[in-house]
């Protein structure tokens, strides 16, 4: 069973062709890491998975991204609906500055248009904050502004925010690169815990992190997939020489 399947994906920024014929499969309950040197297209690829790529002026996509068998780029498909089912956490924590911690966590629920009663919101918020491993640290100060937390906490808050709407897939775009090592470790542990319920795709420039956290790894170079396979294989006995060079640190 395939949760997300990318078939022959090409992407452009204007006339700049940045992704060439990418193929990828992500199975439910797994963590897939996307690695590669700067500029290889990892962020672009992940942003195609929740239709954020097209928000940039002049950006274009061709190909298919199948989510549970349905192409999210189909003509009838509403990108807004896609993003409710496929959530994203960004590189730099971006909690909404005008909202409290709890309001940040429940932002997706509150702004969805449904009127949920206070109690349901509070429950959802608590559940999400627990799942993000942040509950104990903030339970006594839920009304404080989200911006007051430390970097690592803010990022976990953003994860909670993404979890609260109960997506099925979570996309993480270098979630720990702006954080200190201790916070990075916590995020990695979190990812390990989350994979039971979600399908996770994580972009990282840190190979050790990819090795620690993921089940499958995709290595990209210049917008093309060089190799895709089980993490253990990609890191120990890769098929492609370029992969071997990269993971052994010979470049990038």
């Amino acid at each position: 069973m395939r949760k997300v399947e990318i078939v022959d994906l090409n992407a452009w920024f204007g006339s700049n062709h940045v992704l060439h014929g990418v193929n990828l499969t992500a199975r439910p309950g797994s963590v897939t890491a996307i690695i590669g040197p700067s500029g290889c297209g990892k962020s672009t690829l992940i942003r195609c998975l929740n239709r954020m790529h097209e928000e940039v002026r002049g950006a274009r996509v061709e190909g298919k991204v199948l989510f549970d068998g349905t192409d999210i780029y189909g003509t009838d498909v509403d990108p807004v609906a896609v993003r409710r089912r496929i959530g994203m956490v960004f590189q730099r924590p971006n909690p909404f500055p005008t909202m409290s911690i709890l309001d940040n966590a429940t932002a997706g629920l509150r702004l969805s248009g449904e009127r949920l009663p206070r109690s349901k919101l509070a429950e959802g918020g608590e559940r999400a904050l627990r799942a993000a491993g942040l509950w104990d640290e903030v339970k006594d100060r839920l009304d404080e502004p989200g911006g007051r937390l430390s970097g690592g906490q803010q990022q976990r808050l953003c994860i909670a925010r993404a979890l609260a709407v109960e997506p099925e897939v979570i996309l993480l775009d270098e979630p720990a690169s702006a954080l200190d090592p201790a916070s990075t470790l916590r995020i990695e542990e979190l990812v390990g815990g989350l994979k039971e319920r979600y399908t996770i795709v994580i972009v990282t420039h840190n190979m050790q992190q990819a090795a620690r956290v993921s089940d499958w790894t995709l290595f990209m170079l210049f917008g093309e997939v060089v190799e895709f396979g089980p993490t253990e294989k990609v890191f120990t006995t890769p098929d492609d020489k370029r992969t071997e060079d990269y993971v052994t640190g010979r470049f990038g």
Binding site: N50, M52, E55, R57, V80, A81, V82, R83, R84, G87, M88, F90, R92, N94, P95, F96, P97, T98, A107, G108, L111, S112, G147, C158, R161, A162, V165
Partner: protein, 292 residues
């Protein structure tokens, strides 16, 4: 005889160069003083001459008869300003903010550039021209001067200010917040209204304050459209007074006792405008910190 080796023979030239440099520095500081002098002088005069005029009567009575002018007041001007500026604000602010939203959130092509250029051009419209425009369009057509015309002439001036200032403020909201909201599955309009605008919050308020501060002090357009009135008027279709207008009239009147009222009105105007200018600054600083 030449000087000892090492002591440079650039003496006289150096003197001239040094003189020019010193002269330059003196010039710069003179400019600073020259710029400060009028400000302090004006502030001093307005406060010292105006404060005496501020009495209970001043704020609550209409102009008195020719026998005892100093016992009257200019309440109708305050009411009129409230009416005219209030009307203008209610119209210009929504229009301006929506324009600003378009420019900041949606406009990326030629249309947006055109709108921006037009806003800038309108911003530099001499206020008398805005007055003449509404005079021709509304006053001449309807046959009488009115608070409505006054308000509309101020809208011509306020709309571009609110548009340009709110675009600037909305652009300051980091792109990542927009992306965070979109990634959460919010439609564009909700991302703007529920996330971007509240984040810009105080900034949008300063945009409004800038426009209102401008409108409060405008005389020429109000002169041409609302004409003025010695009595309180609340009918927007009738001639109405305004504080700057009254100051202008009393400045030219031969009745000396009323000159004091002119200073009083000037003091009130100055205080109001300064208050808005300072608040704008304070809010702006606070807003910068919040976003950073």
């Amino acid at each position: 005889m030449s000087a000892a080796a090492g002591t440079v023979s650039l003496g006289p030239v150096r003197g001239i160069r040094r003189a020019k440099d010193t002269g330059f520095t003196v010039f710069l500081w003179t400019c600073a003083v020259l710029a400060l002098v009028p400000l302090t002088w004006i502030a001093f005069y307005v406060v010292s001459k105006g404060i005496g005029a501020l009495s209970w009567n001043f704020f609550t009575k209409e102009p008195a008869g020719p026998l005892n002018p100093q016992e009257g007041g200019i309440v109708q001007s305050f009411v009129g300003t409230g009416l005219i500026v209030g009307l203008a604000t209610v119209i210009a602010v929504p229009l301006g903010i929506l324009s600003g939203i378009y420019l900041a959130e949606y406009g990326k092509g030629r249309t947006a550039s055109a709108i921006r250029l037009v806003a800038y051009v309108l911003l530099s419209t001499p206020s008398i021209v805005a007055g003449a425009f509404i005079w021709a369009l509304v006053v001449v057509a309807l046959g009488n001067f009115s608070a409505l015309a006054g308000g509309l002439s101020l809208v011509v001036l306020m709309w571009p200010i609110v548009a340009i200032a709110s675009e600037a403020v909305l652009r300051l909201v980091p792109q990542e917040l927009r992306e965070g909201a979109l990634a959460l599955g919010l439609p564009r309009w909700k991302a703007i209204v529920r996330v971007v605008m509240p984040t810009a919050g105080a900034g949008l308020l300063t945009a409004v304050m800038l426009a209102v501060a401008r409108a409060l002090g405008e005389t020429a357009p109000v002169l041409l459209t609302a004409l003025g009135n010695d009595y309180i008027n609340t009918d927007i279709r009738a001639p109405t007074d305004a504080v700057p207008l009254r100051v202008y009239d009393y400045a030219r009147t031969p009745v000396e006792a009323l000159h004091g009222f002119a200073w009083g009105g000037a003091l009130v105007l100055l205080a109001a405008v300064l208050f808005l200018a300072i608040s704008t600054r304070v809010l702006s600083n606070r807003q910068q910190k919040r976003i950073a």
